[in-house]
């Protein structure tokens, strides 16, 4: 997989996660008045960073000696394409009097940030394709 297809694929995955995060935040905001509702967040970037770092360190990583296939191996190389976003229920933050822990202003800020992030990703994706087209002219 060369650098063009890799970066197109990575941007595509990032856009998918951004859309998911936007929908989850929209759901949190719509339920900002419901008693006993707990907000949800999406985790993806930390797992992706770990996978990409493991690619860089794959050559000189620490490999355990195993004599059977079923032995557990140390983590050497994770393909970043196997990383999926996870929705996590956030029940540890403080709540209102009616048990709802959605902070509307913070949620609105998250929504704005996600929107801008998505727009930046589309710009980067657009750049990739237009650079290739320049070569073909």
């Amino acid at each position: 997989m060369n650098s063009f297809t890799r970066s197109v694929d990575l941007l595509h995955r990032a856009m998918d996660v951004s859309t998911l995060r936007y929908s989850v935040s929209a759901n949190n905001l719509a339920n900002a008045g419901v008693p006993n509702f707990k907000r949800t967040t999406v985790n993806f970037e930390a797992a992706l960073k770990e996978a990409i770092d493991s690619e860089k360190n794959a050559k000189d990583s620490f490999v355990l000696k195993t004599s059977d296939d079923r032995h557990i191996q140390s983590k050497t190389y994770t393909d970043y394409r196997t990383v999926e976003p996870r929705r996590v229920l956030d029940y540890a933050t403080t709540s209102d009097a009616n048990g709802n822990n959605v902070d509307a202003e913070a949620e609105a800020m998250d929504i704005l940030k996600t929107q801008l992030n998505y727009q930046l990703l589309t710009q980067m994706q657009s750049f990739q394709f237009s650079q290739m087209h320049i070569v073909l002219k």
């Binding site: 063009f4 197109v8 595509h12 856009m15 859309t19 994706q125 394709f129 290739m132 087209h133 073909l136």
Partner: protein
Amino acid sequence: MISSLDLLRYNASTTASNAVSSTQLSKALEKIKDGLGITNTEEGKSFDNYLLDAISYVNDSQNKSSALFEQVIIDPDSVDAHDVTIAMAEANLSLSLAQAVIDRMIKGWSEITTTR
């Protein structure tokens, strides 16, 4: 009178030139396939296999984008906006790339055949 050394030298030079030209061509095709992201290479495939692989990749990406169009029409809640536009841009790009390659090949071929 051709000595055995001359014969050896002649054989060496022709095989070397054949090797050079075919590896150059296959390297060029490798670069094109790499650019399109095709990874199913094996050793010893011939020129027309590479060409057919490249054309089938272009065809696959066009089919993938028209399958996505169908999905947008039938079930718009199952597909994202960027899925569709990225598939369209990829199909467009791979087709433009294939067209550029074919143009160059045809131009090269006609240059060779019209040379005295």
